[in-house]
């Protein structure tokens, strides 16, 4: 019960912070993510005040909504709730692991999103913005399952 309460408190606090956070406030997560996207796609992004990171040639912006904060809190909650043991030791470890996972998964998602945007991909009712969101959900849910599986792998096998 203590674990669930603590996890929910952190999740609500981060969501509350995220609701009013600007691009500058979220630079701690946007900057490493964009750096990784640039590394993968070879497309440079320029930081623009009040927007986030932008590439004029492709017409793609990485704005606060793209920061992956929802995934960050979902990953943190998954890591916290999938484990047993010392709560106060697991809290910072889960937070760091969730941050690292968010940067990697979000960069992969954005790299694919840049490609979809560049080629103006759309399908049936899936307009480019809807496809962008759907792609994100598929990436995030798959990554959360992989995270939970990785945590389970650490458990000793019952003989």
């Amino acid at each position: 019960m203590k674990r669930i309460t603590l996890t929910l408190a952190v999740v609500f606090a981060v969501k509350l912070y995220y609701r009013s956070a600007s691009a500058a406030d979220l630079d701690w997560i946007l900057r490493p993510t964009v750096w990784l996207v640039e590394l993968v796609t070879r497309i440079p992004f320029v930081r623009e005040a009040g927007i986030g990171y932008f590439n004029r040639d492709v017409g793609f912006a990485v704005i606060p909504a793209c920061a992956g904060v929802n995934f960050l809190v979902a990953a943190f909650a998954t890591l916290m709730l999938a484990q047993r043991g010392r709560l106060w030791l697991q809290l910072p470890v889960a937070a760091l692991a969730a941050f690292a996972a968010t940067v990697v998964v979000n960069a992969a998602r954005l790299a694919v999103a840049v490609g979809l945007h560049h080629h103006r991909v759309s399908f049936w009712f899936l307009t480019p913005p809807r496809l962008h969101q759907l792609e994100g959900v598929i990436f995030y849910v798959t990554a959360l399952f992989l995270l939970a599986l990785a945590v389970q792998e650490k458990k000793p096998c019952a003989a």
């Binding site: 999740v11 809807r130 969101q133 598929i138 939970a148």
Partner: protein
């Protein structure tokens, strides 16, 4: 199902609870449910294959 519960909790339940669900929430919810369903499809098969491999 814990990862899915966490994701749906953060993306669907929390905006409803904190009153942050705007007019586009219905479309958002449909895309979240559709994307989650697509992402979950291979997992039962993968888990069965993994269990057989042990």
């Amino acid at each position: 199902m814990l990862p899915l519960a966490c994701y749906l909790g953060v993306t669907l339940a929390m905006p409803l609870l904190d009153g942050n669900a705007g007019p586009a929430f219905a479309e958002h919810a449909i895309l979240v449910v559709l994307g989650s369903a697509l992402a979950v499809i291979p997992w039962p098969w993968l888990m069965r294959a993994r269990a057989r491999g042990r």
